[in-house]
Symmetry: C2
DNA sequence: TTAGATGCAAACGGTTTGCAGGGAA
DNA sequence: TTCCCTGCAAACCGTTTGCATCTAA
């Protein structure tokens, strides 16, 4: 069986975006694909300003307005997730298409770690039952510091 | 045994605030106590602007700067909790001193429900162990809608 | 008496919007 | 050719800050 390369994965991502744009009668502009590529070329979380600077450094100038516009589309088709980690600006994360996870944030540095605990599913079911609601999404974030050495 | 009245509870709150102010050499200004009273006189979550307007309606004029300043103190002594429910403005909640809880937000209306599931404690322990960290606080919020009638 | 608090208004910073020009379909 | 999209800059809005004035201690 062939190993799945990073390029293969991005091709899938690109295809998802294209299908989304076509289905919603949005234009397939070069800006949108370049932004998509830039986002998926880097690991970790990002905010609009850092993405803007990164693209400028890569000699691809887009306006902030277009970044906000495109992020909106990427959120809508599920390729990007939005977080508001207690700050007053939004942070985003590219979808891995692989595994769901939540976050631990170091209070001092702002560094982000990811984890997954299946018990969150149990809590979700409990809440849906309790309130007779349908949960569309959720956010679970822990904040803390390194454990002090004894 | 005497029933505990709302006034008794507020007296306790007031005392906690006073002790906090004294311990940290902060002045006990009338503004600070009036803001405390206003916050604890209303149920549910609030933001700075609505608190500002509420106080103005009650004929007690404070500046927004003082509201922000005082909220900071109330957060510091644990009488108020801050939330950032995906919006770009902060929402606050008075502490109940009774029971810990998390939130369910109706996507359409923004209405807030509260619940508690002890499994969150298990997840917390798991994360502390996994990353060798100490968790100071956390946020768990579900977003969704009413379950459609069949 | 004086250091800390308040009120006001200006500044700040992330996000949104209006509009003229450009380009995908 | 059409009208959606982009870029730019101004507007927006929640929050922070600077400063003169006031007041708790």
């Amino acid at each position: 069986m062939m190993k799945k390369t990073a390029e293969d994965t991005f091709e899938t991502i690109r295809k998802i975006f294209t299908e989304y744009l076509e289905k919603n009668a949005h234009r397939k502009t070069p800006e949108r694909y370049t932004i998509l590529k830039e986002i998926f070329a880097t690991d970790g979380h990002f905010d609009i300003e850092s993405l803007y600077i990164r693209m400028k450094n890569h000699k691809y100038r887009v306006s902030r307005a277009t970044l906000y516009n495109t992020i909106e589309l990427l959120l809508d088709c599920g390729l990007v997730t939005k977080h508001q980690f207690g700050t007053n600006y939004a942070q985003f994360e590219k979808s891995t298409l692989i595994r769901q996870h939540d976050h631990f944030i170091f209070i001092d540095s702002g560094d982000v770690l990811e984890f997954y605990d299946p018990r969150i599913e149990e809590i979700k079911k409990y809440v849906e039952n309790l309130f007779k609601v349908q949960i569309i999404n959720y956010s679970l974030t822990f904040y803390g510091n390194s454990k002090p050495k004894k």
